[in-house]
Amino acid sequence: MSGVELLVLLGLALLTAGTLAPVARGGLTTAIALQAVGIALLGVGGALILLGAPAVGATFRSGLDPGLGIDGLTGFFLATLAVVAAPATIYARGYLAGVARSRALVTLGGLFLIALAGLLMARDPSTFLACWELMTFVPAAAILVRRGDAGVRHAVFVYLAVTHLGGAGVWICVLALAHYGAIGDPGALAAQGAAVQALVIVAAIVGFGTKAGLMPLHSWLPRAHPVAPSHVSALMSGVMVKAALYGLVRVLFEWAGPAPLWSGLVVLAIGLLSAFGGVLYALFQRDLKRLLAFSTIENVGIVALGLGTSILFASTGDETWAAIAFAAALLHILNHAVFKALLFFAAGAFERALGSLELDRIGGLLRRMPWTGGAFLVGSMAIAGVPPLNGFASEWLILQALIHVAFGPSLGLGLAGALAAAGLAATAALAVFCFVKVVGLVLLGVPRRAEAEAAVEAPPSMRGAPVFLAGCCIALGAVPGLLVPSLMELAPQPHALVTKPGLSIPGTGSLPSPWLLLGLLVLTGLLWRLRGSRRAAPVPAWACGQPIERSLGWSSAGFTKPLRLVLEAVLRPRREIEAVHERGQLQSIRYRGEIPHLFDTLLYGPVQRGALAGALVARRLQSGSVRIYAAYLLALLLGLLVLVRIGAIG
């Protein structure tokens, strides 16, 4: 038995023990420590295999005998899982202190990790589908254990309904692949012809895309992610959507054979819609966690842009860039897991300090919670995609790949690449807009209510997780080049790249990220010295001479108003102004404005109404009378006999 195998088995054993311990009335701290060490060991094992250790365990099979195993791609996703999950479990210790039913939540947390790891390590269709369903149900249970009011129950219902309707795609896709013996055998599906391949690919995009939160099947995500406990939100946004992307990658890049050009274009289009639409709606959210959930849709869209680009390159024969785009998408998966988990951890700490996360009523937390606030600032900059942090590195790679599609072999591809590149650039600008707003409203300025004034720093266990992940953001931003060559090895047509700390890719001007970080630090330090600390007496900020009051503070809606006006035709904002007159005098004005989520009003609403109307019709069939049901059976039998008689079936 190799060392890695031992490591993985030990990790699984500890994780299971940590999950069962609370059930057996063991101490919560012990249980959490076991879970954290277990998932960390799994992650280390995965990382070792990613970096070149031989694969362990079973290989992929289409039969029903269960099997677990780890290859390079699984190793990468396991490492990503561990980077988020180990801090998440430790964070949960502080977060769940004094919370009712914390024992159940710790068990559910462990179960969630087992489901995620099991999904990634599954080597046969039955284990895969079992873990897939478990992964969907456990967070729903965790949400309901924590809070059970009507709004939350509705959110969970939508979550389960949408992911199950969409999830049918996963079942169709995996069962079809198993039927044709294509799991683990790339040639098998290609031999079945283009129609079967198209069916599998479409089912995979719908099924995995729903769970990944790709537009237009994302409606559950901004509902479910905000209501979960923060460490579960971090796992849902950071890892669960990535597990869906893992499935998509397996199908599109391995099992479905060489993916055709059209599937690349479809993934690219969905990715562009999700990236732009996600960040656009994120910008107009008023609740921090809901905003973060929309931003998850954006980032999943960016990953899909990378995957789609990779398919386009592969089908036009450019294997180098296919591998680069593939690695870029994987790198963004890791990066997004890191900074989104960070932001959710910090949001959880803020929520504990304040009670609610309404963006317009926070303010000034950087002074009061320097550690959590500082980490939140780093995470916001990373997710906004500014150098020298990790978000910029992966977005740079994906943008480079899109630009290289733009001067591709055909006009159509070229236009698609250019449009997607321009869309990604606009998305990046919107992300800066969005997260500057978040940083400003949450961390900076004056506290906007008494709770924010009185906020104190979170306990050490809750402080450590975001600070650790902020360090990861900086490290991954400084040396992405150490990881990218290993990721390029995972592509269907691997391509070697020299391992350097920065990214030097042929056809680009290179991204020497360590030097950028160093240059920024040194120059900022120098200028800080030059600037000196001589300063005048403190003065209030200028507001035309009047004292700055809370009512003068800028709101989220005010800051985004120019963009709302510019994009009025797309966003269709609603506003109501009600003026109350009494005895000919204006007494008060009430203003209400909102940006409706157009997917809800234009797409989900009609579908939902249609389904309910259909259910009403169908209900008439259910009279409750046995004789009527017997008549249905007779009619069915006769109908089938007629069909057999005329030769339509049988």
């Binding site: 001067f407 236009l415 990046a428 400003g440 001007g509 920024l520 200028w542 108003k561 510019v566």
Partner: protein
């Protein structure tokens, strides 16, 4: 040769940048029939600001105080990326066009965060408009860059500059479209009319001046210099990628100087002839620039 290019990159960028905005102001005054300030006026202002004390509006945090240093540091790093006359020494920073865009986005983030820190309505109004325009400007910028990448097959600014040299490129309609599209980018990014009015200090109309409102002393000097250097960067990139240049280093340098001078004159002329447009109409202008760039791309890919 290459050392001279490197020297101009850094020393030129650091020292000559304020001259550009000074020249535009002086030219504009002449065109409007005024005597106006000398082109050296920005230097005098920087010297004056450098001697003054820093203001410390309450309540602000380290984000506000660090912002000028970060903005200036990002801008200085950006200077290293832009080749001069088609040459750039092997700085360890590379010459990538998208990294340049990223560094300028970092500066924008820092300044907008500082606006939130002061909580001043005027600063926030400015940055909210700036960020709104940046959504459209970045899309346009990337499209214009793609057109310049097309002949070079690389986003390396040195290779792009080399591919755009000579006269053959001007037979391509794509290059003409790219030049016009980038001209719009220059107008937005340098804060010129008809998008923004650099002369106004009327709080309700300004964009780029807004976030600077609370700063004083050396902080303001750093920010004013960064604005000038941004001007320099965009004009040099415009001349290097989208204006005619050919020959060896000497000839290219002469082309660069002429190109930048022509661009300054063109900016002064537009500012005199054009009124500031309503801010909500600016995105439509930028979107039409995007369409033009796409037309250019079609012609480039077909031709």
């Amino acid at each position: 040769m290459i050392a001279l290019a490197g020297a101009i990159q850094i020393i030129g960028g650091l020292a000559l940048a304020p001259l550009l905005s000074g020249t535009v102001q002086a030219l504009k005054a002449r065109l409007q029939g005024r005597r106006g300030p000398s082109p050296l006026q920005p230097y005098r202002e920087l010297r004056r600001l450098w001697g003054k004390t820093i203001a410390d509006p309450q309540p602000t945090t380290v984000v506000y105080r660090l912002a000028p240093c970060i903005v200036a540091a990002a801008t200085i790093l950006a200077l290293f990326l832009v080749p001069i006359a088609g040459l750039s020494p092997d700085w360890p920073l590379g010459n990538d066009a998208i990294v340049l865009v990223g560094l300028l986005a970092l500066a924008r983030f820092a300044l907008a965060a500082a606006s939130w820190d002061t909580g001043s309505g005027f600063a926030l109004m400015g940055s909210s408009r700036d960020l709104t325009l940046s959504v459209f400007a970045e899309a346009l910028l990337v499209l214009a860059l793609i057109l310049a990448v097309l002949p070079a097959a690389s986003t390396d600014l040195v290779a792009m500059s080399a591919a755009a040299s000579g006269s053959a490129i001007w037979a391509e309609p794509a290059h003409w479209c790219a030049a016009v599209a980038f001209a719009l980018v220059v107008l937005v990014e340098t804060g010129r009319q008809p998008i923004d009015n650099p002369d106004t200090h009327l709080e309700l109309t300004m964009i780029h001046e807004g976030p600077l409102l609370e700063y004083a002393g050396r902080d303001l000097a750093l920010l004013e210099w960064s604005a000038a250097a941004r001007h320099w960067i965009f004009l040099v990139v415009a001349a290097e990628l989208y204006l005619p240049h050919w020959g060896g280093f000497g000839a290219q340098l002469a082309c660069l100087v002429t190109g930048v001078a022509v661009l300054c004159a063109a900016l002064a002329l537009t500012e005199t002839a054009q009124a500031k447009m309503r801010i909500l109409h600016a995105p439509a202008l930028l979107a039409s620039g995007c369409l033009l760039a796409l037309v250019g791309l079609v012609s480039g890919l077909v031709g």
